[in-house]
């Protein structure tokens, strides 16, 4: 079923690169919500994504999300029904539901012990212990090795700016402060990287979270943040007694929990947790001068923290909307993208492709993770943040352009790949590509190559196309 609806989706969204669906009202007519009044309908109404209401002309970016929701509506209906059923079962047994939800420690401290949670051990290791939930029951408590991930943020110690950088920053400031920010222009400017100073606001705009109209921004932010905390009250607080302990871990956990419960077709999938980090770190950098790594979030006022949390949630949701079929049953989006990568590589570098074939290396064996985690496991966080400047400026950056980035990334290692002469050596290499020293320069080159590939192959008739 998933495969079939997937095929439909590719047909439906066969649109020119760079063109956006302007007609929000049509895009909004999601079968998910418009069809017959069933229990699912009610469910959908309760959990309907706030992106779908209001914010009219500023929502250009959400075109892909709408079609994706269309794509998944069948799957979503089925699974949502299942979730509802599980829900009611769990509600019938409150202690069980509690325990399933409460065995994730916060900063390695147990939030709440229960009949089943046996996690009193204090090491971080305890954080990776939660029982497998049956699929589509309440979302899993996410596992977030955050310390390791945040340690990359290069918030401090930046070298002095060059004249060129100053001019660029000035251009951004100008764009951002105009009455109506020209989003096309902002995208153009952001593609080669967003200056750190203006990244938070630029990302909010690029993701479609903030309206282009200056006057509406403040109100939108306020409304969205309130809305998010409404979800927290509605879904989260009722299950958790000790809430609003604002550690990194708990903030992430809330964000993921709310996302998962509102997206029953996906639920929580390992990897999604990674995707919160760049947003969180970027929004945090607005308030923190020093290295984010050593920063204790409890030093921030609760208002600030809440804003960061809500903004991270909305921007991550926006991102995920565009790649939701990566995380639905059988992960059709990923399977498709890995196949597309294979085909692309076979065309751009036959030697590498044949080398893999010779040693029986399958693309899925290494590229699954590249797709599932958007290369976040392969790159230092600072590089991911830079990469996302471009992904958010590029039409369908996360869902489509990423494929070309992956191809460019693979070919980048062609020499090392061709030097390996057995399966094992190849897999070990591909799983541990040495990018630890990478920075903006390497990402810039990677993106340029990806862009070249995209334009070389976008119109090739036999090539994989969206």
């Amino acid at each position: 079923m998933a495969a079939e609806s997937g095929r439909q989706f590719w047909k439906r969204s066969a649109k020119l690169p760079g063109s956006f669906i302007k007609d929000r009202s049509k895009a909004n007519a999601l079968p998910m919500k418009s069809k017959k009044a069933s229990s699912f309908h009610e469910f959908a109404r309760n959990t309907s994504d706030a992106w779908d209401i209001g914010d009219d002309e500023d929502e250009d970016f959400s075109s892909s999300s709408s079609s994706l929701q269309t794509l998944n509506s069948k799957v979503a209906k089925a699974t949502a029904a299942q979730v509802l059923e599980n829900h009611s079962k769990l509600r019938a047994k409150p202690e069980r539901a509690q325990s399933a939800l409460s065995d994730m420690p916060t900063n390695c401290k147990v939030i709440k012990s229960s009949s089943e949670a046996q996690l009193s051990r204090t090491s971080e290791e305890a954080c990776v212990r939660n029982p497998l939930q049956k699929q589509q029951s309440l979302p899993l408590r996410p596992v977030i090795p955050l310390v390791a991930r945040i340690s990359d943020q290069n918030a401090s110690g930046a070298p002095p700016m060059t004249v060129r950088e100053k001019t660029r920053l000035e251009k951004f400031r100008q764009l951002l402060s105009s009455h109506n920010t020209d989003l096309d222009e902002l995208r153009k400017c952001s593609w080669p990287g967003v200056p750190r100073e203006v990244r938070p606001v630029t990302w909010r705009l690029l993701s479609g979270y903030l309206p282009a109209n200056m006057e509406r921004r403040k109100l939108t932010l306020q409304r969205k943040r309130e809305e998010y905390f409404g979800f927290i009250q509605q879904y989260y607080d009722s299950r958790n007694e000790e809430h609003h302990q604002d550690t990194y871990r708990q903030i992430f956990e809330r964000i993921l929990f709310i996302w998962a419960i509102r997206h029953p077709a996906s639920g929580y999938v390992q990897g999604i947790n990674d995707l919160v980090t760049p947003f969180f770190v970027v929004f945090l950098s607005e308030y923190v001068e020093e290295d984010v790594e050593n920063f204790d979030v409890t030093n921030l006022s609760q208002d600030v923290l809440r804003s960061i949390e809500a903004d991270s949630f909305w921007c991550m949701s926006k991102l995920l909307d565009g790649i939701q079929d990566n995380y639905t049953f059988a992960q059709p989006g990923i399977q498709k993208k890995v196949k597309a990568l294979e085909e692309l590589v076979s065309r751009i570098d036959e030697q590498v492709h044949n080398h893999f074939r010779k040693y029986e290396v399958e693309y899925l064996q290494f590229a699954f993770r590249w797709m599932n985690n958007l290369l976040m496991r392969e790159l230092p966080l600072r590089c991911t943040i830079r990469l996302w400047d471009t992904y958010q400026s590029e039409p369908e950056g996360f869902s489509h352009f990423h494929l070309y980035v992956c191809a460019a990334f693979l070919i980048k290692w062609r020499k090392e790949i061709l030097d390996e002469e057995d399966f094992q050596g190849l897999l070990m290499l591909l799983q541990n590509l040495p990018t630890i020293h990478w920075g903006n320069e390497e990402i810039g080159l990677l993106l340029a190559e990806a862009y070249r590939l995209k334009y070389m192959f976008a119109d090739a008739p036999n090539h994989y196309r969206r």
Partner: protein, 213 residues
């Protein structure tokens, strides 16, 4: 230069999320224990040589699988080419023990008519005070399925070596007896001998290989 090995076995490590599969494998292949570890996404690959008798080495290729249900469509593709496996549960997590049966069923469906030689591993045995599964019941379950049972701790490096080595030895015996044979198009067992290369010191093994061919 790669050391000489008699056979290469492919093993798979399965079990619920967070029972410690990756930590166990890392302890075995890298000799260290990571306090923080990213949850596995899809499947990861590891490798190590083990010496089952002086001078007799087996190369192990180990697939570390993600325990989360959502990744099942990916991970199950790896069962078929595995000759052996470690089925882990966490002794402090009763549910992970209750799911052992399901894991076995799941693999069975995908490797029929062949079988994977499994060992049942009760992991995190350093956390004895939080134990939710007794050794006795785990042994009973293992016996019912014709598996061996062993308790391990990656953190304290207890029985990690033994878990892998014992399994390797058992598979080796089956290969030697001809109950498992090398097959074209199957990656579970491969012979380490390259044609036309003479290993004069490996008399015994050479004869073994003749039996299998």
């Amino acid at each position: 230069m790669e050391a000489i090995w008699l056979y290469q076995f492919r093993l798979i490590v399965i079990g619920d999320s967070t029972v410690g599969k990756s930590c166990l494998i890392r302890r075995f292949t890298e000799g260290r224990f990571a306090q923080i570890s990213d949850p596995t996404v899809g499947v990861d690959f590891f490798s190590r040589l083990v010496e089952i008798e002086p001078g007799k080495r087996i190369k192990l290729q180990i697939w570390d699988t993600a325990g989360q249900e959502r990744f099942r469509s990916i991970t199950r593709a790896y069962y078929r080419n595995s000759v052996g496996g470690l089925l882990l549960f966490d002794i402090t997590n009763r549910r992970s023990f209750q799911n052992v049966h399901e894991w076995l069923e799941e693999t069975k469906v995908h490797v029929q008519p062949y079988q994977i030689v499994f060992v049942l591993v009760g992991h995190k045995c350093d956390l004895d005070t939080q134990r939710q599964v007794t050794r006795h019941e785990a042994e009973k379950l293992a016996a019912a399925y014709g598996m061996k049972y062993i308790e391990t701790s990656a953190r304290d490096a207890i029985n990690v070596e033994k878990a892998f080595t014992d399994l390797t030895r058992d598979i080796y015996e089956l290969v030697k007896r001809g109950e498992i044979s090398i097959q074209e198009g199957w990656e579970g067992v491969k012979s380490g001998f390259v044609p036309n290369v003479v290993h004069s010191s490996e008399e015994v093994v050479k004869s073994d290989r003749r039996c299998l061919c």
